[in-house]
């Protein structure tokens, strides 16, 4: 006989979990009393949102399922942003939430929330455990659902009396679910049609998404690209699936994609979507998206196929398996004219910035991060202009080296995710690229990095603005900077603050870092940038490097919302 709490521990152990993130409370006291003796490392976060983002960063960098345990009521509701972030990006997480005793559910009890109802839309699946005998099976099912098909977060809500109750039920050896059977092997006929289309194409493009990384299929993808000489563009989530230093790399496409990538997609005659989902940031106006091409779509999620863009050759299956079946059917091929055209586009409008200015430009900071780290770091980002510059000015060559909230676009994701990533990849240099707005959202987690000796580097591109929103206000909202000035001066009249004693930015990030036990540095001149970054990456402690960058630098290229990909706006020369 084991208690429910023991079943939870056993479930984690059987799934091979080594690290768990979370925060205790009354409704999970029984589980935590077992954690005290358990073989797992437990990371105490300072906010449940931080715990979930940590588990998420850990999962992205290791490929394993991230795990967290939180309490009922506000503990559970604090996880929603983290769960929704993971749900949008397909990240495997198992999150155990405590709940009030079964008989008290629905009574507006202390620290009670309708966790199942509230998290239904933010999770791949969720469970309310009403019978302790079902718990061993549920634990096994949760890991199965989280890590198979299109991965995603699973919540298990366990009432306190269930945690305390005893059961003789044992965990299953395998999990078979009637309503859930992801397709692994692709249809041979469709794969043959795709091989034929590749042979016939004169201007093919591989459009690669995060699914290639989730499926560990980067090697197969690279082989395919090289075999048939097909240029590769990746989404934000797919960065690192194909080496960006490769001559066939078009780099990122979409709203803030490169000129060459967007032109290639617009003018290609065969677009092969490899585990990507035709997201609106990628397609721009759908009616004018890649109109000259036949389209193929390889995806494990049948609901992703034909969702927004109609496709001629759909292939449902695990992308690694499908590519393995496809490769022998594809003949070596060359497209010299097409590659010449692409090189012309790349030379016409490369990603660049004003290298002569005395100001520190955010793009320059990213480029130096790339050089100082030897291109070998794991880059984590917050959300905003800096996130896009991190995609532009760092070249990703390996999977699981770029961690970013793509689908939900969650500010505050980066710092806790970087902590989880460092735990999962202790030998790598982890860099969180942050904006001054985003970094304030979960700054409190920095102390966790200090306590656990996780020497992350937080590089704040401080432009004293909510930069992405400010740029949209300049382009589409008469330049009226409503609520986007974070600096103490220059605010609109109805947001005016008291007369500042000086124009210093608040909060003082250097002092804030030191208050948390980390090292703080501020870079105010270009000359100090490389020495500061070098010192930060060498320091075996968490470091915050605040770079005071030019406030109103704009991000280009940009495809305005609702416009076609080829109507990119470029920097005025």
């Amino acid at each position: 006989m084991r208690t429910g709490a023991e079943c939870v521990m056993e479930g984690f152990e059987r799934a091979g979990v080594k690290e768990i993130f979370g925060l205790p409370g009354g409704a999970v006291l029984d589980i935590f009393s077992h954690l005290y003796h358990a073989p797992f490392k437990f990371i105490l976060a300072r906010h449940e949102q931080g715990a979930v983002h940590m588990a998420d960063g850990y999962a992205r960098v290791t490929g394993k399922c991230g795990c967290c345990i939180v309490t009922s009521g506000p503990g559970a509701t604090n996880t929603i942003t983290g769960l929704a972030t993971a749900n949008m990006d397909g990240i495997p997480l198992v999150c155990v939430t405590g709940q009030v005793p079964l008989a008290m559910i629905g009574n507006d009890s202390f620290q009670e929330a309708d966790t199942i109802g509230i998290t239904r839309g933010a999770t791949k699946h969720n469970y309310l455990v009403k019978n302790v005998d079902a718990l061993p099976q549920i634990m096994a099912e949760a890991f199965h659902i989280a890590t198979t098909g299109r991965p995603g977060p699973v919540v298990i809500d366990i009432p306190k009396d269930i945690q305390q109750a005893s059961t003789s039920a044992t965990p299953p050896d395998t999990v078979q679910l009637k309503g859930y059977k992801p397709t692994i092997k692709g249809h041979a006929g469709q794969i043959s049609r795709l091989a034929k289309a590749i042979a016939q194409a004169e201007r093919p493009v591989l459009y690669v998404g995060g699914g290639v990384i989730a499926a560990d299929a980067a090697e197969e993808l690279t082989e395919l690209a090289h075999k048939a000489n097909m240029p590769v563009t990746t989404t934000l989530m797919g960065l690192g699936a194909f080496p960006e230093t490769d001559p066939l790399a078009l780099r990122m496409l979409g709203m803030h994609g490169t000129y060459a990538a967007n032109m290639a997609v617009t003018h290609c005659d065969l677009l092969i979507a490899v585990a990507a989902r035709f997201d609106d940031r990628v397609t721009g106006k759908i009616s004018t998206f890649s109109t000259k091409s036949r389209k193929a779509h390889i995806d494990i999620d049948p609901s992703a196929i034909g969702k927004s863009v109609l496709v001629d050759i759909p292939v449902v299956g695990d992308v690694k398996s499908v590519l393995q079946d496809l490769l022998p059917k594809v003949q070596p091929d060359e497209h010299p004219d097409w590659l010449d055209q692409i090189r012309a586009w790349q030379n016409e409008r490369p990603l660049d910035y004003d290298r002569g200015t005395p100001d520190i430009l955010p793009q320059h900071v990213i480029e130096e991060v790339y050089k100082v780290s030897g291109g070998d770091a794991v880059i984590v980002t917050e959300v905003g202009q800096h996130q896009m510059w991190a995609a532009h000015f760092y070249k990703y060559t390996k999977p699981r080296t770029f961690l970013s909230s793509g689908g939900l676009g969650t500010m505050g994701y980066g710092l806790p995710a970087a902590i989880g990533a460092q735990l999962g990849a202790p030998d790598k240099t982890i860099v969180d690229i942050a904006g001054d707005g985003s970094i304030q959202m979960n700054f409190q987690e920095l102390v966790v990095a200090v306590e656990h000796n996780l020497p992350i580097n937080v590089v704040i591109l401080n432009n004293q603005r909510l930069g992405m929103v400010r740029q949209w206000q300049d382009m589409f909202y008469k330049g009226e900077h409503a609520a986007t000035v974070l600096g103490q001066t220059g605010r609109p009249s109805n947001e005016e603050t008291r007369e500042p004693e000086n124009e210093k930015y608040l909060p003082d990030f250097v002092k804030l870092a030191e208050a948390h036990g980390a090292v703080g540095m501020r870079v105010e001149s270009k000359d100090n940038l490389v020495p500061a970054l070098t010192k930060a990456f060498e320091t075996p402690r968490p470091v915050v490097v605040e770079c005071m960058v030019l406030p109103d630098e704009n991000l280009y290229p940009m495809v305005p919302a609702g416009a076609s990909l080829e109507d990119m706006v470029h920097k005025a020369t």
Partner: protein
Amino acid sequence: MKHIITAIVQNQPGVLARVVGLISGRGFNIEKLHVEPTEDNPEVSCIVMTVPGDDRVLEQVTKQLRKQVDIIKVTDKTEKE
């Protein structure tokens, strides 16, 4: 077009809420709904709904329903008006 959507689902609390949530979450109205356990297997229920709406979007909704863990089978019959 009025769509008649039939879903075979696990007879468990929360499953109906999930089905309804996916449909209403897209702004569709469920005009008629009937749910009862199947004769051969009381652990499994059959939900029949009448949902008027755009064909393409409902096709998407049907695919998303199929993806759900507790939903075993989904069919959509469009009623010719």
